[in-house]
Symmetry: C2
Subunit: 368 residues, 2 copies
């Protein structure tokens, strides 16, 4: 496993070294973890001309979920409380003879950038931009297998909830129970705050669970995900509570299901991200729900729950094989509720059977 990290760091080094005499300072936690195997709180990674160093303010914890630092990596623990590892890294780079240091300007604050500049005034600070995020875009099979396990865990937690009595329980309780079950099944923790919406709250994107109780006749929409070895997946389903759904519920569900299927089917290597979005959006538009969808119909997942690509009308870029994304259209009718269906899939060539569905809980409209 250690070799994987060294190869990744080598690719960062190649990008920087084009100009000569360059080092890179990686501070965004998910990027640090991608290159170093772990990201202890506040740690930064110096990708130097010679040696790479992980600088931490506190010792890395070997506890479940945090990851273990690559053993081939030198680690430096800062003893002075409050010392900024990024500033120490810049001093180290200057000491190694680097002429320039590429920093993540989209992550580093102005104040830290200034502190780095003053500790190493001869070091030219340049922008590393999204170089590490670009490396993270396409996942290797090791990463995909972590996502696959994360998805299995989420499926299990959701499946168990469906077997329990739901009427009369609050959104908060259901969300907490789901999170407990995720951990029971081996997740590091929830991938994001679990969302449970009932009745008029159902179908709302990012709904925070409230004290509303599940009632007969409600739509119940649930969105959850597990983190496993740092990798995060997402699943969303909508159910109906009681003996049988009302006509408007069936119609709305079928519509969102059709939109979600259209989005899933558009996931092919080389497809433009905006075309995947359009495929799902077109189904909704045709049925008159022009403003029904939110700004995105899906997004990449990996070490962060929301990463590139975005599936949105103005998105640039194309999909590629081995890129995991969510497809999650939804519609919410104010005062009435709505439907959201969300899967995590991996883009695969047609020759390999097309997109690989990681979250396999049924998408039939279940009456619970």
């Amino acid at each position: 496993m250690s070799e994987v990290y060294a190869v990744r760091r080598e690719r960062v080094r190649e990008r920087c070294a084009a100009g000569g005499g360059a080092a890179a300072l990686v501070s965004r936690p998910a990027n640090v973890r991608y290159l170093a195997g772990a990201a202890p709180l506040g740690a930064v990674l110096l990708v130097g001309q010679g040696e790479d160093v992980l600088l931490c303010g506190r010792p890395p914890s070997d506890q479940h979920g945090e990851g273990r630092p690559d053993e081939a990596l030198r680690m430096r623990l800062l003893s002075e409380p409050g010392a900024d590892p990024a500033v120490a890294a810049a001093g180290l780079a200057a000491g190694q003879g680097a002429e320039s240091l590429a920093v993540e300007e989209h992550h580093l604050t102005v104040a830290r950038h200034r502190a780095i500049g003053s500790v190493a005034p001869r070091l030219r600070l340049v922008d590393l931009g999204g170089a590490v995020e670009q490396l993270r875009f396409i996942k290797d099979e090791e990463e995909i297998s972590c996502l696959r396990i994360a998805a299995e865990i989420a499926d299990q937690a959701l499946g168990e909830l469906l077997e329990s009595i739901l009427v009369g329980r609050t959104e908060r309780h259901l969300a907490l129970e789901l999170e407990r079950r995720l951990v029971d099944h081996g997740a590091d923790g929830p991938a994001f705050a679990t969302s449970v919406g009932t009745g008029p709250n159902s179908g709302r994107s990012g709904h925070r669970p409230s004290d509303r109780r599940v009632e007969e006749g409600d739509f119940l929409s649930v969105c959850l995900g597990a983190a496993y070895r740092g990798y995060r997946c997402e699943i969303g389903r909508t159910f109906v509570i009681g003996t049988s759904p009302a006509d408007w519920q069936i119609e709305l569900y079928d519509l969102v299901f059709a939109a979600q299927r259209a989005g899933r089917e558009a996931l092919v290597p080389g497809a433009a991200c905006r075309d995947v979005d359009r495929a799902a959006r077109h189904v909704m538009d045709s049925a008159g729900y022009t403003d029904g969808l939110g700004p995105v119909t899906g997004h990449g997942v990996g070490l962060e729950i929301d990463e590139d690509p975005q599936l949105a009308p103005a998105a640039m870029g194309k999909l590629d094989a081995c890129v995991p994304v969510t497809v999650e259209p939804g519609v919410h009718l104010p005062g009435k509720g709505g439907v959201r269906i969300d899967d995590t899939l991996v883009v695969r060539p047609e020759a390999d059977g097309g997109p690989e569905l990681l979250t396999i809980t049924t998408k039939e409209l279940l009456a619970l």
Copy 2:
């Protein structure tokens, strides 16, 4: 309540206006909430020469815990997906005729700072520094009453746990149960990730709950807190599992208790923060646990769980009346475990009875 926010914003305006023609852009979420009553995800606050504006990427949610924006405040919702409210705010400030814009350089990234500079090239960008954090340092009675309720909730959740059977349950389960109870008792949510440590994990600061099960003879240390209307408290206790503690456990507990009491008793308006730290640390040192304590023995709490002041050997600054802080010394013996005792208190003058203890769960060594 609305007036409180207007008064706070007025104080920010006064700081900026010293130079004339100045506006301020507040981006740090806790600072936005302090000045605007709510901080919807990604929102920023423009404190202008004339009108103040809250700029959001999505509509504020009226759901429990997020806070409601001050009704006296103009709100602007950005319709373009992905638009940065900070950039829009800078454009607005320039349009209002501001000559300079004070930004939070300790929060804003280099990339956002640059984007602001390019949208409003005539606007001189200066540093607002920790001006809002300084205003937040001393709490008003409304804020303290939120902290008091948060502490009550944490006390209740902890009290209920103590009545249940503990042996055989994992750290993870106990932590999840505590978090469920916090929510049951009306918390917005946990103030931070609940820490439960048993046996060799007990007494470790910030320990992440593992799958270790509680055993007879263990120390069990628990650290939790509730968020209530955005305000966060903290309580930590250590218990012994079984019929009676071992001698080494009693000795270690008494020592940490004495250190914690010394810290609490040093909380008087005007005391130097480092002296409070020293009071607690001195007790440990005298008993030979020179390196037993972590880098801080306590910290401020409020809209964030870890804010100014820091109670640490090199801390600058003094306490004041109405400043809430934690006092939380602990010691951990590798392989054996340890003790941590943590309270949230409000500094009060002696004439008012001295420090007000918010977390009132007993600090006797309970054998459970």
